[in-house]
């Protein structure tokens, strides 16, 4: 049954291009674990290494105590859900689900019971004798899920299972996937490049870039305390400012403009003073008497919120930023602003993130690449 997955110093090379240099990861038993990252960062590659469809050029991957590096894919006891569903078009829904049960030589009676259970669980009982070509995308995806979990795999792997569905169905299916996963409690690795989906569904997320782990943590950790500038930028939106830091220990002052200085009390004591990068999310600003001066370039009304695109005049920013945004919650807004207005903005010192300009890593106390509670492997 369900097992934890331990990846240690994994290496993947295609001919002479190294896609994954040295990757370590521990995925807990029964966890819904997401690999998230931009296109081409190696998510599929890593997933297929776990599945056995890619060779492993170095390091080890274990399911529980078993090293699986040299176990062929069909003996790894994995369940896999593919982006294009990969339903067998020549078999009916029921035959699709029975396929794996037969391969695993599950006794007839038990196989039948499992089939019924799966059909019920994924709500596809009425289509059992249909050929897949007459099913909708969402229904096909359920068949794929039922087929994968029917064999009681050690781990369940999903590669962008929802990306071929429309927006509404995506939300619906991700709830179904999460419910079923929790119900049967199977270790699941879920690949997506959709951050909203990842935040909504996961127990923990690994953010990847260029074949490397950028950060591992719960959705909350990753969103609120990104480990580096890449994660802060990739998950949600952040505006990046350049500040001057001074002070000692964890209490420091960061000067953002000539008349706005932030008082921080959660800086890593070993962090050095001088230039720092400050990441502020749109909802981490507030209108204030004293703050940075900004001019409204564009305002977009979104119902609950209004989002302003701003030009800051008296503070220095990181280069290559498209725009810096401030989103104002309309519930407690005193007044709305128009394009061309000049406003003063302060930031919530407790919520913003500060990064070292050299390593681009966070200098907030307690933020670690492999999560706050677990120390790195």
């Amino acid at each position: 049954m369900s097992k934890e997955i331990i990846i240690e110093h994994a290496v993947k090379r295609y001919d002479n291009v190294t896609i994954i240099k040295d990757l370590s990861l521990r995925i807990g038993n029964s966890e819904l674990f997401t690999l998230l990252g931009p296109s081409g960062c190696g998510k599929t590659t890593l997933l297929r290494m776990i599945a056995g469809f890619n060779t492993i050029e170095g390091g080890t991957i274990r399911f529980g105590d078993t090293v699986i590096n040299n176990i062929p894919a069909h003996k790894r006891n994995i369940g896999m859900v593919f982006q294009d569903y990969a339903i067998f078009p020549h078999l009916t829904v029921a035959q699709n689900i029975m396929y794996g049960l037969k391969e695993h030589k599950v006794p007839r009676e038990e196989a039948k019971q499992r089939l019924e259970k799966m059909l019920r669980l994924t709500k596809i009982e009425e289509y059992r004798d249909r050929l897949p070509e007459r099913l909708s995308g969402g229904q096909q995806q359920r068949v794929a899920l039922a087929r994968a979990i029917a064999i009681h795999p050690d781990v369940l792997l999903m590669d962008e299972p929802l990306s071929n569905l429309d927006a509404k169905l995506r939300v619906e299916m991700r709830e179904i996937i999460r419910d079923i996963q929790k119900q049967i409690g199977i270790t699941t690795v879920y690949v997506t490049h959709d951050q909203e989906e990842a935040l909504a569904i996961s127990d923990r997320i690994a953010v990847m870039n260029f074949g490397d782990i950028q950060q591992v943590g719960t959705p909350h950790e990753i969103y609120t305390r990104p480990f580096n500038v890449f994660v802060a930028d990739f998950i949600g939106r952040s505006g990046f400012f350049c500040g001057e830091m001074e002070g000692e220990g964890s209490r420091r002052r960061i000067k953002l403009s000539k008349d706005y200085t932030l008082e921080m009390d959660n800086i890593l004591p070993s962090a050095s003073n001088g230039r720092v990068i400050v990441g502020i999310r749109p909802e981490e600003f507030c209108i204030a008497e004293k703050g940075m001066t900004a001019k409204v370039r564009k305002a977009t009304y979104l119902g609950k919120y209004i989002t302003y695109v701003l030009d800051f005049e008296d503070c220095s920013m990181m280069e290559d930023q498209e725009s810096i945004e401030f989103s104002q919650h309309l519930g407690n807004a005193a007044s709305l602003h128009r394009v061309g207005d000049t406003i003063k903005l302060a930031a919530y010192a407790q919520r913003i993130n500060v990064f070292s300009p050299e390593t681009k890593e966070s200098i907030i106390r307690g933020v670690a690449r492999y999560g706050q509670e677990t120390v790195s492997l």
């Binding site: 396929y99 391969e103 087929r147």
Partner: protein, 550 residues
């Protein structure tokens, strides 16, 4: 760390098997053939003597010119006839289109030399029609030589153009024509400006096929060509010559021919590739009604051509039931021809279908494996397998026969005179049809389907057979049917490879024709046609069931 472990799995085994067969039956025989052209038969030493003989005498060099002249003429004629027929039947409302389709398919189903010999029966020196007109005091132009070969090959091969172009016209999106018309193009100009360019890639592909088939054709030229020598006939004569076989000289001529066809093939392929693009359309062109004088002309053309192309088959069937006296047909019907050829019919039918069935099973297996290797396991090594499709284009049947004989009539592997060598020739020559359609369907099947099966616990070979292969079956049927029909009608390689015990139907027909036993030949040929049709019906029933959409 980082050591790449080599895993010996099912596909490695298949790769090894495929490449062993490839080397043994294609590379080695070809190498041996090319080398033996450079050996002096009298001394056994290296020399250019064979080539000097060949290029030194007009008798031989003329054949190059003849071959090219015939192929070009046939290609041009078939392109005109076939395209016009395809255009008429797919854009106008021609009555009885299904019937025409059947006639054309029927005309494709027998070897081209049957066409040749039927025309000899009709228009030859002693032909039925010739004699009829001779009695009226009119002498008809001769059927032998250049004109005869062109006539037979054109009527036989225009059907390729017809089918390819009809298929392409079906894929043309009518809204494209409408778009062009809305931009101010008249219907007639539309055909020139839109339709022809759109079907051009298919037309060129079909024309290439016609060209290569007619340059390699042997049976027709042998029966009807007489003094008009072409390369395949020279190769055959040199190899089987009455005044002693000269394998080395035959090899040298074969060398020249292979070099010529290879150059032409790659040249044409290069031109075609530059012009190819993909089309797909759900709608098809609406057929327009046609009236009056134009309608009469169109119907005369379409029916005339279709009937003319099945005339040989009709002649064969009718003459099979005629009374004969020596090599002449006389008044009255009888079953004598069947009676006299009965023993031959029995043994050759058995041989044909036994070898044919074995070959088609192997063809399907090999095609599926080769397609899989070259699509799914593509690398520098497996891309060499593309040659498998080109090989029979460039190596004509008689040259293939000679190659195989040169290699397998001595130790370590003696196959000459066996059924195996004929089956090998069948497979090599007719594999491409099935291979092409296998590659086509494989591109439409997502690799993840097979990976899904593996993740569910199937070993790679089981996943292949239970999923991918099953999904391929409906798609490869078209190619397999083509392979099947052409296998059982194969002549040129079998003619070189057969011995008394391994004679096939088409060889038997050829043999009877060349002995002048036209009655017996017709009887055997009708059996060949009849059984082809029956087997085709069975085959279609068994395979043409359903296709899965993915």
């Amino acid at each position: 760390m980082g050591r790449k472990r080599f895993r010996f799995d099912f596909w490695v085994l298949i790769t090894i098997i495929v490449f062993t067969l490839f080397a043994l039956f294609m590379v080695w025989p070809l190498a041996k053939l090319l080398i033996s052209g450079f050996i002096d038969p009298s001394t056994g030493e290296w020399s250019l003597k064979n080539f000097q003989t060949f290029f030194g005498r007009k008798y031989y060099t003329n054949a190059i010119f003849h071959s090219l002249y015939i192929s070009c003429t046939v290609t041009i004629l078939t392109v005109i006839l076939g395209t016009l027929m395809a255009y008429l039947t797919s854009t106008f409302d021609i009555k009885g289109r299904g019937f025409i389709q059947i006639l054309v398919i029927f005309s494709m189903m027998s070897p081209s030399f049957i066409g040749a010999y039927s025309w000899v029966i009709l228009l030859g020196r002693n032909g039925l029609v010739t004699n009829f007109f001779a009695n009226l005091g009119i002498s008809l132009p001769t059927i032998y030589g250049f004109h005869g070969i062109v006539l037979v090959l054109t009527l036989k091969l225009y059907s390729f153009i017809y089918f390819y172009v009809s298929g392409a016209i079906k894929k043309v999106d009518p809204s494209m024509l409408e778009a062009s018309q809305s931009l101010g193009c008249s219907p007639a100009r539309n055909v020139v400006k839109m339709l022809i360019p759109l079907v051009l890639p298919s037309l060129l592909a079909a024309a290439l096929m016609v060209f290569m088939t007619s340059i390699a054709d042997f049976g027709t030229a042998m029966l009807i060509g007489e003094g008009y020598r072409v390369l395949p006939v020279l190769v055959y004569r040199a190899f089987m010559g009455e005044n002693g076989s000269n394998a080395n000289f035959a090899a040298a001529i074969a060398f020249v021919m292979v070099a010529l066809t290879a150059c032409l093939y790659f040249l044409q392929k290069y031109i075609i590739n530059k012009k190819s693009f993909k089309m797909r359309s759900v709608k098809t062109i609406q057929k327009r009604p046609i009236k009056g004088f134009k309608a009469v002309l169109a119907h005369i053309y379409v029916y005339g051509l279709a009937l003319l192309s099945v005339l040989p088959q009709m002649t064969v069937i009718v003459t099979a039931f005629l009374k004969t006296k020596g090599s002449r047909f006389v008044r009255g019907f009888s079953l004598d021809s069947f009676r006299s050829a009965w023993k031959t019919i029995l043994s050759t039918t058995r041989n044909t279908y036994l070898y044919g069935a074995t070959a088609i099973v192997l063809i399907v297996l090999i095609a599926v494996f080769v397609a899989y290797l070259s699509v799914r396991k593509r690398n520098a090594l497996t891309s060499l397998l593309d040659v498998v499709t080109v090989f029979p284009y460039i190596i004509s049947g008689s040259i293939l026969g000679i190659m195989l004989l040169l290699c397998f009539n001595t130790k370590p592997l003696i196959l000459s005179g066996s059924a195996a060598i004929i089956i090998v020739a069948f497979i090599i020559r007719r594999l491409p049809h099935t291979l092409r359609s296998s590659v086509g369907v494989l591109y439409q099947i997502s690799p993840s389907t097979e990976e899904a099966a593996i993740s569910l616990g199937s070993s790679p070979q089981k996943a292949f057979f239970k999923v991918t292969f099953m999904l391929m079956v409906p798609g490869i049927a078209t190619g397999a049917i083509m392979s099947w029909v052409t296998v059982i009608n194969e002549l040129s390689a079998s003619l070189i490879l057969y011995t008394g015990g391994t004679k096939t139907l088409s060889v038997a027909v050829y043999e009877q024709v060349s002995r002048g036993n036209y009655g017996a030949a017709a009887a055997i040929a009708s059996i060949l046609m009849l059984t082809t049709i029956i087997s085709l019906a069975v085959f279609m029933k068994a395979t043409g069931s359903k296709e899965y959409t993915m």
